[in-house]
Every structure is written in structure tokens, then in C-alpha cells.
Amino acid sequence: MLLYFSILYLIIIATAIAAIELTNLIWVLVAFAVLLTEIALFYFSLGFPLLGAFQLAIYAGGVAILVLFAILTIGEREEEKRESKLAAGVAIALFITGVIASIWTGLTTKPYLQISLEEIGRVFVDKYAILIIPLAFTAAGIVFGAYYILSKKLNREE
């Protein structure tokens, strides 16, 4: 399993760095899509097939295609890089902090729970069903806001 995990981990890190570092936006999008798919693989391996399916459908499908459309709209451009030692320092500090925190808290691993789809559905209905209502309104607000901004812009251009 260590081998399997290591391969996955390396691919994830590599594609994440590629998504940040590459200058050609099409290749950035390709790296990003691979990253999202690998994470979906993680979910399947952890025993959450529904979450993995969501990840594939919404992220690897929807978001990647949205970004693709955006790139096509604004044109595929090469962007100049900016080296920032401060940003690198902050990122490394964050990583080290995370590792220290993981160790410091004395994390112990119990045998994994086998969480079935029924279990997830039950907990969802018991605890989180009410959250769907504000979430739905938030989603509606966001979508409407995006549409409003776009349509205003288009009107002004006419």
C-alpha cells in the first residue's frame, strides 16, 4: 500500500506544482484536471465512492470545462512568471507548521470505519438537511450575481 500511496502522492504533488508553474494555460488546465482525477481516486480508495463520483463529475468535469471556456474566451496567453521568495517562505512555513501540528497532536490511527452509503444518507438527513436551505439560497444568489455581472458587462459593450 505504501507503494500505491507514494505513486499517488507523487502524481498529485507533481501535477499541483505543474498547474502552478506552467505558463501555457492549456497545459495548466491539463495538469489541473489530472490532479482532480487523482484526488477522486483517493476518495474511492478511502471507501467513499459517492464522494469520488462527485469529485469527478463536478471538479474534473464541470470546473475543468468552465476553466477551459474561460481560457478560450480570454485567449490563450503566455504569462510572465513572478518569483516571490516571500510567498515561497510563507508556503514552506505553512507546510512545516502542518507537519509539526500533525505530529504534535499525537495522532493515532484506529481501524477504519466502514461507512456505507446508507449511513451517509442517514447522517445527512438527521443532521445536515436543514443546511441545504441556506446553501440553496446562497447558490441561487451566487449564480444570479454572476449572471448579473456578465449581463451588465455585455449590455455596456453593446
Binding site: L46, G47, Y59, I74, E79, V99, S102, T109, Y112, I120
Partner: protein
Amino acid sequence: MNFQFSHEPMFWFLLVTFSLVAIGIYGLLARKSILKMIISVEIVVNGANVGLAAFATQHGADGVIIAFFAIALAALEVAVGLTLLIVLARKYGITFPEKLNNLKW
């Protein structure tokens, strides 16, 4: 071969989480392009989701459900971000975040 994780230490998944969050934050801070920044935010959110899913195996289904919510909201966020990109990129170019400095004194 069985690719199902069953007793691997939590530290592995936290390593994934913090690696992705660190890379995402670096991208957010070091890149001028709004598209790269949106992608960086998505990387951060995905890192967090991996951590949530991993902890769900220890503490019950809540982590997975929160991950569902996070995915839904992240998708919406991308929608708005890309809208802003399309609207503002014509005027300022794709590197507009550093040109929007009218919050300055």
C-alpha cells in the same frame, strides 16, 4: 491487488493535505494571473477535502458530508471567479488583481 486503504496512518493523508494547501497558498501569493489564482484556491480546497474524507474514516460520516458541501460551494466560487475574470480581463488584462489597488490610502 486490493487498492482499498484499511489501516494506513492518518499522517499520510495529512501530508497530502498540507502539501496541497502549501502549494495552493504559494500559487495564490506568487502568481499575478487571476486564472492561476483561481486554480490555486481550488487546490487548497481539494487538499482540505482530502483531510476531511480521511478523518471521516475515524469519526463517522460527517466529514464526507462536509466535503460534499465544500465541493458544491467551491464549484459556485469558480463560477463567480470566472465571471469576474471574463468581465475584467478585457479592461485590465488577465493580471488585474495587482492593478486593482484603489483600496489604498
